[in-house]
Amino acid sequence: LIDFCGIELAHPIVNGSGTFDAIAARRTFGDALLADFPFAAFVSKTVTLEPRQGNPPPRLWEQPAGLINSIGLPNRGLRGYLDHDLPALAELPVPLIVNVMGFTRAEVGELVAAFAERVEVAALELNVSCPNVESGLIMGADPSETAALVEHVRPLTGKPLIVKLTPNATDVGAVAAAAEGAGADAVSLINTLRGMALDPRTREPWLGGGTGGVSGPAVRAIALAQVREVASRVTLPVVGMGGVAHGRDADDLLRAGAALVAVGTESFRDPRAGARVAGELADLLSKRSKTTPETGSIETPKTGVK
């Protein structure tokens, strides 16, 4: 068992927020989903105060070894989440982490306070990084903005607070350090990288939202570097993600300093990817423990040219 902010997890693989809808998956696959749940904890899709329809289609663009999405955080809003989603998600066999986003500090505070007393909720994740919505960049791109947000919501709940960092920041390590200083319990990264694609016929942006977030194996190397950077700057547990498709990718993120690893886009290709990655990772770790155990952290030359 793994202890993550006081939450017991069966293995280190969770899902990235917004990459798996457990309610829709149960509709599709039935109760087999519960018997064979692929993640050690479930991170739900971002909930906002008011309901959102999301961005106009098209919302997806396949790109080399990845995907650009412009979904726009569709959700039922806080009231709808509490009435419809939370009871269904409480039936999952794993701890529930609720991801929230607000357009102001006060809104985030309202969301955090609403979940603070819910026993169904094990932890909260603050989305300060969604690049699809205008103000998503603001709070997570700047260390002092991030610190001010975490300081505002920290007194509102005793539950673990995870800050989901955006890779679209000048110095992600500084943002992580600011979150730690303001009382966060963990950080998670990377969210998607901002990207775009043009419609080959019209030569205008393909995505209805104009730009979108790039994910998949295409971002794996960026995730590894950012997780390592953040892990070297904070003592908080780090949830690492970005292009994880196999156990070896999770193994790399753990080596870079992650405590947990999230699977995202790969679940679109393989609905049981979380369980598969966890199994492959366990095999790798077990083989290595019999040969040469790894110690310490990754060393990089101080004078190295990037």
């Binding site: 809808d21 396949e62 790109q63 070894a65 999405n69 569709p74 679109f268």
Partner: protein
């Protein structure tokens, strides 16, 4: 049996590996015959997410990366048939699969066609590759098939259905003009019909408008780019009068009365 259960066979959890049994030509298209031992029998209109088990993302190949959504042509006895046309990296890779090659399958997914109500006679309208979900449905409920194609080579696929009346864009086979001309004639002759349609967005929109104008109920099997097929990615939304719906969960068959338009940005080729 509830109305929805009759339209939907649930999927086993996860993807499973089928084997290509045959890959044969049907005019300008290919028919893939796939073994799916132990897989459930789908309902007409449902679909599968398909990906070759080798050279499909993650390794040497850059694209295709995501699985592709396909309605099944016919199914039963642990076998599935799919129809495809080589138009992009995904369909190109699928088209080159040979007997013995592996195919990842997730499905059956979504909700299929609903049976005709109060004695209305079914009329099936298909355009191009959109004839696919109509084949298994015609096996079950009968009715004439009005099928539109680009060319004579594509129109050879009309043989996959029975009692087909063909129209072509270039006039090389059958009626010279849109398939909706044939539908208008059919509804003139018997307005007590229910229309089941699948095809390119412009055809579906023409069918929707024609049926709406005449008060004829219609069910449209629609298409939208999908990353997952099981509601995870929220990418395949289609605007309806009730707001956006995920086509993989609430479709792919939608009631035409729920739509202001069947033209969805990003669909079609």
């Amino acid at each position: 049996v509830s109305a929805v259960t009759a339209r939907r066979t649930p999927a086993p959890f996860g993807r499973r590996r089928g084997l290509i049994e045959a890959n044969r030509a049907a005019g300008a298209y290919r028919v893939l015959e796939v073994t799916d031992p132990g897989g459930p029998t789908p309902r007409p209109g449902q679909f599968y997410m398909l990906a070759a088990d080798e050279r499909w993302g993650g390794g040497d190949a850059e694209r295709p990366f995501l699985p592709r959504a396909f309605s099944f042509l016919r199914a039963g006895d642990g076998r599935l048939e799919f129809l495809l046309e080589d138009v992009g990296p995904g369909t190109h890779r699928l088209a080159e699969l040979r007997p013995g090659d592996g195919l990842w399958l997730t499905g059956p997914l979504g909700i299929g066609f609903a049976r005709p109500e109060d004695g209305r006679a079914p009329v099936l309208v298909g355009g191009g590759i959109g004839i696919v979900p109509l084949a298994g449905w015609q096996d079950e409920i009968g009715g004439p098939a009005l099928l539109g194609f680009r060319s004579a080579a594509h129109a050879e696929a009309a043989a996959l259905l029975t009692d087909a009346d063909v129209a072509t864009d270039d006039g090389s086979v059958g009626h010279d003009g849109p398939v909706t001309d044939l539908l208008a004639e059919s509804l003139d002759a018997d307005p007590d019909a229910v229309v089941y349609a699948c095809g390119p967005p412009a055809m579906l929109e023409a069918v929707r408008a024609l049926c709406a104008g005449r008060g004829v109920p219609a069910q449209l099997a629609m298409e939208s780019g999908m990353a997952c097929g099981f509601g995870a990615c929220f990418g395949c939304v289609v605007p309806t009068r009730e707001g956006y719906v995920r086509l993989c969960l609430d479709g792919p068959v939608l009631d035409a009365a729920d739509l202001d338009t069947a033209l969805v940005p990003g669909t079609g080729h």
